[in-house]
Amino acid sequence: MERHELIVIGGGPSGLAAATTAANAGIECLLIDEQANPGGQIYRAVGTIPEQRASLLGPDYNYGRKLVDQFNQSSASYLPGTTLWNLNSQREIGILRDGQASLISADRIIIATGAMERPVPFPGWTLPGVMSAGAGQILLKSSGLVPAQGVVLAGVGPLLLLLAWQYLHAGVKIHAILDMSPSGNIWRALPHLPGALLAHHYILKGLRYQMQLKMAGVKFFSGVTEFHAVGGDLLEAVEFTHRGGRKRIDTHLLLSHFGVIPDSHLSRCAGCDHTWDANQLCWRPVADKWGNSSVDGIAIVGDGSGIGGAVAARHAGRIAGFEAARALGRMDEKQRDDAAREDQGWMRDDLRVRPFLEARFHPPAELLSAPPDETVVCRCEEINAGAIRTAIHAGHKDANQVKFLTRCGMGPCQGRQCDNAVSQIVARELGDKKMISGGYRIRPPIRPLTIEQLAALDEGADPK
């Protein structure tokens, strides 16, 4: 089996920083990236994008170019366009590139797979015409595509504002922005404001976006509840409750967003321990301050280990790069500590805004844990919330037993879309506040692999 000293998985800010740092410390390092170019989701296509679109995306986006340049100048090798369908606790990785499946392994692995949008099963979320705001942003970044007939943006979280601001500048008609964060959030967030002011640029940026959108005449509805996407074969409108009254806005496109959560499929497939994060309402891998997971030789950095944003991710990547240098014998502990100190300080400062943001943009709990019985939760297998509740009350007291019985989470997406919601429905039905029941066990291949590709698997010659 092809063996590397270090394999970094993911080409976003944390992965690029980790690979660059480790390579600069003399480690033989391979970065595996699902994308065609380095940058990840946040800096998607940063190296290839036209100047005009780049300026639309703002100065933060352009910072990504510097990271990519530094990575390109390092000795790290780069494997683009490569999907990863397995990672196990023995640090063996299954990859697929140009249709060829292979097994490779490493002495050390850094998972930097970042975040995914939080899937929320609200009524009508499976209608054609309902997309995630993240998907909308991918279209804007990679191909400059914007909605031609106008859009409603709905949900919770800073990305909604950012995308609205980007759309405004691209001339898109925004029918309305619906903020579903509970009205109490602002009061719960206030105690965290003094700490957040130390990272005040984030808050100022948000306020600036909001002001510009309001000045442009975009309608804002806050404290929105009982949100439904409605239509027959296609989305026709959104309906919601606002200030006690029921409202309807016609639209053929809804971009929804409920914050981001760690994409933990890979770390769970590898058998790393995870814990329920009650502030971020998601599963998060257990990791020490160097990023080390519970599995020997596997570290997890960036948003994949808990949402901290691109800047914190970059520092975490560097810190994990120094730790890799220690683990692989290029630095002793003191050298590592000295090298990482600056990044640790910057990361701490940057993360000061998180408790404020987490409280301000905390999604309404019942949105996740109490979808109506008829709402589809698992869209692959078309299992609705009622069937899940029935299974729970028939004695299936954790997400995996519910999965076995109902097939919820057994479809091609491997439970990516319903895992979080099912965990929370189980917890709510059983009155289990600590979410001790656990999420789905994740089974490889975690990305599609055909029978023929497996039959032609390249295991590589065993070095022994």
Binding site: M410, Q414, I451, A455
Partner: protein, 373 residues
Amino acid sequence: MNAKSDVIIIGGGLMGLSTALHLGRRGIKAVVLEKASPGRHASGVNAGGLRQLNRHIAEIPLTVAAAEIWKNIRELVDDDCDVVLNGQVRVAESDAQLQKLQARVDAVKAQGYQHEQIIDSETLYRLVPRLVGGCVGALYNPDDGSARPFHAATAFRHKAIALGAEIRSGVEVLAIEESNDGWKLDTNQGVFSAANVVNCAGAWANCFAAMLGESVPLTPKAPTLMVTERLPPFLDLTVGAEGYQLSFKQMQNGTVIIGGAHLAKLDFEREQSVIDFATLKTSAQTVTRFFPHMAQVRIVRSWAGIEGFMPDNIPVIGKSAKAAGIFHAFGFSAHGFQLSPIVGRILSELILDGKTDLPIEPFDIRRFNESES
């Protein structure tokens, strides 16, 4: 916790649940102690094969009796367990293989059983139209099929509870000692006592047998299964192949389940299995050999269940050789699912009547002592 009952069953898998159910039918309320959750390992995640075909000769009386129960499983558990009885075939690629299968049929008939037959290639391709060309015939049983294992385990559990059984999850047995009126089990959840104790602990059964000084050469292994995306219906039967590790069937929802006892790497202490894709490569090659149209089909998931294997690949069923009031049913070596309804009945008879009509001598635990000495 200090609970007393007539019968304690160790292990909430299908064998334990079936035993509790059959005891319940005769008015005995058993307590099932399950260290994880019912059906957590092999019972819940196996391929669900209802196969009489090509079994060890010693198992034939049991498998035939079990098949009769599966035909009307609703009468036993009030649920159809998604049973489908469309037949199973074991395909032969060469005349030599077919002759071997014919000899098998003759041996089964010599025992007085008629459930296995040889079919010619014409019949085979009528039954399995998508099978690759060139196969010469097959061993066939039209009454075999499959069920959904977790549904079956759930149905057995519900019926056992309805008949008075108590299922205790998260209870791990730490020690056993003889008391005045039976046995005392020390567990992580307190002490449980009973006159009779049944060992249905699957891959963990030897841990308990060893407490009684009755160790057996049981090896825990983790056979792997793969499931594909949904496909339009193309196959009603379960297909195996002589000379290959293959078990291949399409479920009612269109997915295809691929097995054949390809093993995952097992860390038994941590109860973790690591899927071995180098081994599954062979499995995928076997699939494309017999069903070339599967080449582009996507594998959605693979998993492994932890199961107990005996050296002779047949189970231990019967009374303990060392201690009165102790009974065993374990080591089904990855083909126990079909036997579960009859094994529960056998154990209930051994406990309540002291005997059973079915021939269980070949499964006696003492067979391993004899070979050692």
